[in-house]
């Protein structure tokens, strides 16, 4: 068999469109998932039992069920149950926002719990409220520690979004399938797609390493 990338590259713009849509889903899922994750983490840490119980259940549920099932559930089951119809994009964003928020919640929670108890005491002793302690003292330190796990999870999310092709959303994977059928060149198509993901994620990791480096250099030791 012979490799022929040219036939595929002629339709490269199709793949680029898919890439754009992949980035859109990932970006939106991050945009909603991160704050939602923080809210879930704070709820789970709350001393208010009912709240922490509910948050704990949501987190565990979305961490333990397969993302594909969640996607199908939002896209196919929800319209039947409560009559909300979602476009593939919305279903994808809803699914991956909630799904990744469950993971981000655990990252936030771990980060917050890793901060020395003395930080709370120091902040409380000068009269800070719980909210001020979190916002000014605890979270800034916790987030710094969370960055590697956070980057890791974002990469994971980017790869998981390939599932949206199954609900006919025109992401990179969906476009790849189309192109493979059109050109009869699946090997070339998927090789190119793999290369695109590789470059994307490689750049992203380089960026995250740079961020970590900067933070490490800025003088403020993360520990007391």
């Amino acid at each position: 068999m012979e490799w022929n990338f040219l036939a595929v590259l002629r339709d490269f713009d199709l793949l680029m469109l898919g890439l754009l849509n992949t980035l859109k889903v990932t970006g939106l899922a991050l945009l909603f998932g991160v704050p939602l994750g923080l809210a879930l983490a704070l709820s789970r840490l709350s001393t208010f039992r009912i709240l922490s119980g509910i948050a704990g259940f949501i987190v565990e549920f979305f961490r333990t069920t397969p993302p594909l099932v969640q996607l199908f559930w939002f896209f196919f089951a929800l319209p039947i149950l409560i009559d909300v119809r979602m476009t593939p994009l919305i279903a994808a964003v809803v699914t991956f926002s909630i799904q990744s928020s469950a993971f981000f919640a655990e990252i936030f929670r771990g980060g917050i719990l890793s901060i020395d108890k003395g930080q709370w005491e120091g902040a409380k002793a000068i009269g800070m409220t719980y909210g001020q302690c979190q916002r000014r003292i605890i979270l800034p330190q916790a987030i710094k520690r969370m960055i590697p796990a956070f980057m890791e999870r974002s990469i994971e999310l980017l790869k998981t979004t390939t599932l949206v092709s199954t609900v006919a959303y025109t992401d990179l994977m969906f476009q790849a399938n189309e192109l493979a059928q059109k050109t009869f060149r699946p090997l070339e198509v998927y090789t190119i797609v793999a290369a695109i993901y590789f470059v994307l994620i490689f750049l992203f990791s380089q960026f995250s390493i740079a961020v970590e480096h900067r933070l490490a250099k800025s003088g403020e030791g993360t520990v007391r």
């Binding site: 003395g118 120091g122 000068i126 009269g127 800070m128 719980y130 001020q132 003088g219």
Partner: protein, 257 residues
């Protein structure tokens, strides 16, 4: 002298463990009170009840004549907002400094002023610099805490508390985590505060400090004040066997004759 702090029948339990068993104490403005007692006698718990880092199980605390909390159904009730406001009026310094590592020294000392008291930044900065100057660390203002020695960290922590213009200062074994050669500089700072007329309650094992600086020494034992008095008399001639044993345990301490 006027009364600044009055504690009535203070009790604190953790579950079944009763740590404070009825403490009564009145502190006058400008007084330096030193709390002594063996480990587990409840010294930290007592200090922490005064600024409500721990909520007392029973009893009343008055600051400058006003009762903290409201009494309802025979029990004291406290609102969180009221307690935050109270903590802003009482300075506390800890054994392990608890400086904010992600902020510079100056930012550490400004933080409470700006966030809690709502002071404008320029005013807070002037005030912070004045307090840093007072503890002799003005030139470290732009450093991060990680680059300071233990003694310097503790002096920054003192400046951070002072910048809030506290009515009372609480010190909980603030020299216990320091290398011996750094203890002096911190004690000197606290002594200067005492001379400036700050009202202070200090838990310490530095009997020399108690002897020279305190107006009054309390000896805490199993959650009650077993003895109290002027340091010159109580440290030389304790009335109870418990306190004699405690003082003998500090063999390093030599009282001046």
């Amino acid at each position: 002298m006027s009364e600044i702090l009055r504690i009535e029948n203070l009790h604190k339990s953790f579950g079944d463990l009763e740590v404070l068993k009825g403490i009564d104490l009145t502190v006058q403005s400008g007084e330096t009170v030193v709390l002594l007692g063996s480990s587990g006698s409840g010294k930290s718990t007592m200090l922490r009840c005064l600024n409500f880092m721990e909520t007392p199980t029973e009893g009343k605390i008055h600051l400058n004549g006003e009762l903290i909390g409201t009494e309802r159904g025979g029990r004291m009730r406290y609102r969180e907002a009221e307690l935050c406001a109270l903590r802003a009026r009482i300075g506390m310094v800890f054994q392990h400094f608890n400086l904010f590592p992600h902020m510079t020294v100056l930012e550490n000392v400004m933080e409470g002023q700006v966030i809690v008291l709502g002071r404008a930044k320029p005013e807070a900065q002037d005030k912070a610099m004045a307090q840093l100057d007072r503890v002799g660390l003005a030139e470290k203002a732009t450093e991060y805490p990680a680059r300071l020695s233990g003694g310097q960290k503790q002096r920054v922590a003192i400046a951070r508390a002072l910048a809030m213009d506290p009515e009372v200062m609480l010190f909980d074994e603030v020299t216990s985590a320091l290398d011996p050669e750094l203890v002096g500089e911190v004690l000197k700072t606290i002594r200067q505060l005492a001379e400036d007329g700050m009202t202070m309650l200090c838990v310490t094992h530095e009997l020399g400090f108690a002897y020279h600086v305190a107006n009054r020494v309390l000896f805490l034992h199993e959650g009650t004040i077993l003895e109290q008095g002027e340091p010159q008399s109580i440290l030389k001639a304790p009335a109870t066997d418990r306190m004699s044993e405690f003082l003998e345990g500090h063999s390093l301490f030599k009282l001046p004759d």
